[in-house]
């Protein structure tokens, strides 16, 4: 029985069709990585899982309960079972790091102030940042901001953690720290992780299963080994990071001949 299920998911924004009937089952306790080109609808798909977007057509199920038809108020209790790491962290910039991490606990628990502070500190230790609780988000580096956002995402000990491009904008070393952190949380908290990324190094390192989204549909579903040996042209180009003729068509606007450097 899947933990999360997307059935025939369709979504469009104005004239732009983003999802054209996505079907996906996500099993508990694994790391699922969703890859795809920029603008292919990966983040849109992730936001459907947690009810931030409603599908035009199709269904979203969590623990055998359909959640895409729930009201905002009904969704609140469902959402506390998810942790969501936003691409830029989305830390509240008017409060300090400790208050950011403590925020979900203040809102959803009846614990005392001291208990909440202790839990927030423990979460900060878990992401390797025990000494920055009094700093403001604006004083943090990109990597620190993501780790603090991750500490906040796990504050309520969620069952599922959703990562929206966790390594984007970070240097390779910081990216690897985030990858290790995702694996560490997976081991220590035994959660289900869904990671949206176009960083293939990251995908190969953390994934139990990889799916690829292309032109609104899933075009690949398999393991790391399977995607490395996949012969499908679209998948192969994405994995190796090679631009195709179609990708370069828009560069041919000067009238001069333009060729791929690897041909």
């Amino acid at each position: 029985m899947p933990l999360i299920e997307l059935r025939n998911l369709h979504k469009r924004f104005g004239r732009q069709i983003v999802l054209r009937g996505v079907n996906l089952q996500i099993e508990a306790g694994h790391v699922l990585v969703i890859i795809g080109a920029s603008g292919s609808g990966k983040s849109v798909m992730l936001k459907h899982i947690v009810g931030l977007l409603k599908p035009d057509k199709g269904e979203v199920w969590f623990h055998d309960r359909r959640i895409d038809t729930l009201s905002e108020r009904e969704l609140q209790s469902v959402r506390t079972r998810f942790g969501f790491l936003f691409q830029m962290g989305a830390l509240f910039d008017s409060i300090n790091v400790l208050e950011n991490v403590a925020f979900p606990l203040v809102e959803h628990s009846n614990k005392s102030r001291e208990e909440i502070e202790a839990i927030a500190m423990e979460k900060l230790r878990l992401v390797g940042l025990p000494d920055i609780g009094r700093k403001m988000p604006a004083e943090l580096s990109g990597g620190q901001r993501k780790r603090v956002a991750l500490a906040r995402a796990i504050a309520l000990s969620p069952e599922v953690i959703l990562y929206d491009e966790p390594t984007t904008g970070l240097d390779p070393i910081r990216s690897d720290v985030i990858n290790e952190l995702i694996l560490k949380l997976q081991r220590e908290l035994n959660v289900t992780s869904v990671v949206v990324t176009h960083d293939m190094n990251s995908a190969f390192k953390i994934a139990d299963r990889i799916v690829m989204l292309h032109e609104g549909l899933l075009v690949f579903d398999g393991t790391v080994e399977q995607i490395k040996s996949c012969e499908d042209e679209v998948v192969k180009r994405f994995v190796t990071g090679e631009a195709g003729e179609a990708d370069l068509a828009e560069l041919r606007t000067t009238g001069r001949e333009f060729r791929l450097t690897n041909q």
């Binding site: 936001k47 947690v50 931030l52 905002e72 108020r73 969704l75 609140q76 209790s77 959402r79 506390t80 998810f82 969501f84 936003f86 691409q87 830029m88 989305a90 830390l91 509240f92 910039d93 925020f103 979900p104 809102e107 959803h108 906040r152 309520l156």
Partner: protein
């Protein structure tokens, strides 16, 4: 000869009407949700805790701008009115004319317009920035309704503080008018206050204060809604701030018209017509 209208124009009118109706419906739902949370959560400590910093932001920090506006309006009205009254040798009655204008119309409206600029703009910019940096979505995924957490305290602060700032603006307007009339324009102090007391009734003061509650509600709701629905990027936030001020300003002017009409009808029904020259 039959003239045919271009299909593109019809399509454009249809689309604009559709968008305007959708925006109105969206705003109505936003207002309904805000009122729902005010009723269910407005009295809880969770909300009051968030209300206090907003009250400081909306109220305390607006005092200087409202004070300066109120005082100078009172002073300018004195200078403009005295000339006309001198032509009919009624300059001693200046207090009644100016002070009625200040407490009924100019004080509440100008205080509200200043707040729409200072507070409304700041609220839209703050919430708009939170929107484009996904902080509103972050609240939602943590199971916290952004309307309850962000809009309700700001809305309540606007409702509670706008009348208080209006009273302050009225007071400074009255003092400004008194200062210029009696110290620089030669109106004797005794008749000035006697006619002022004769011209102003509790009803008129209350009219100004009660309508300022509605002005505050309009400023808070419009500013928060524009922040919640702003477009992407810095330009989106900038445009939302401009829209917020313009929409609040129009709302204040329109509300003021209906409030004036309603108050006058009720006053006439209860007390009949009364002249300030009586």
């Amino acid at each position: 000869m039959i003239r045919t209208m271009p299909v593109g124009l019809v399509e454009q009118i249809g689309r604009n009407t559709n968008n305007a109706l959708a925006a109105l419906g969206d705003f109505s739902l936003f207002v309904a949700r805000t009122f729902l949370f005010v009723v269910t959560d407005g009295w809880r400590w969770k909300t009051i805790r968030l209300l206090l910093p907003q009250a400081y932001e909306v109220g305390t920090r607006s005092v200087p701008v409202v004070a300066v506006t109120g005082a100078f309006i009172g002073m300018v009205l004195s200078i403009e009115t005295i000339t006309q009254l001198k032509t009919v040798e009624q300059e001693n009655r200046i207090g009644s004319i100016i002070n009625v204008s200040v407490v009924k119309q100019i004080g509440p409206v100008l205080a509200a317009v200043m707040l729409a600029g200072r507070v409304g703009g700041a609220l839209t910019a703050e919430l708009g920035t939170m929107n484009v940096t996904e902080q509103l979505d972050a609240l939602r995924v943590m199971g916290t309704d952004p309307v309850r957490y962000l809009v309700v305290p700001r809305f309540l602060a606007c409702i509670f503080l706008t009348p208080i700032l209006t009273i302050y603006s009225d007071l400074l307007g009255v003092i400004g008018a008194w200062l210029v009339s009696t110290r620089f324009l030669g109106v004797p102090e005794g008749p000035y206050w006697a006619y002022s007391a004769q011209g102003i009734e509790t009803w008129q003061i209350m009219e100004g204060i009660i309508k300022s509650i509605f002005f505050g509600a309009a400023i808070g709701l419009v500013a928060c809604y524009k922040g919640f629905t702003c477009g992407a990027g810095a330009s989106g936030v900038g445009r939302a701030c401009t829209d917020s001020f313009v929409t609040s300003f129009i709302a204040i002017i329109v509300l003021n018209f209906f409030a004036a009409r309603l108050a006058q009808d009720w006053y006439t029904m209860l007390y009949g017509t009364r002249s300030i020259f009586g």
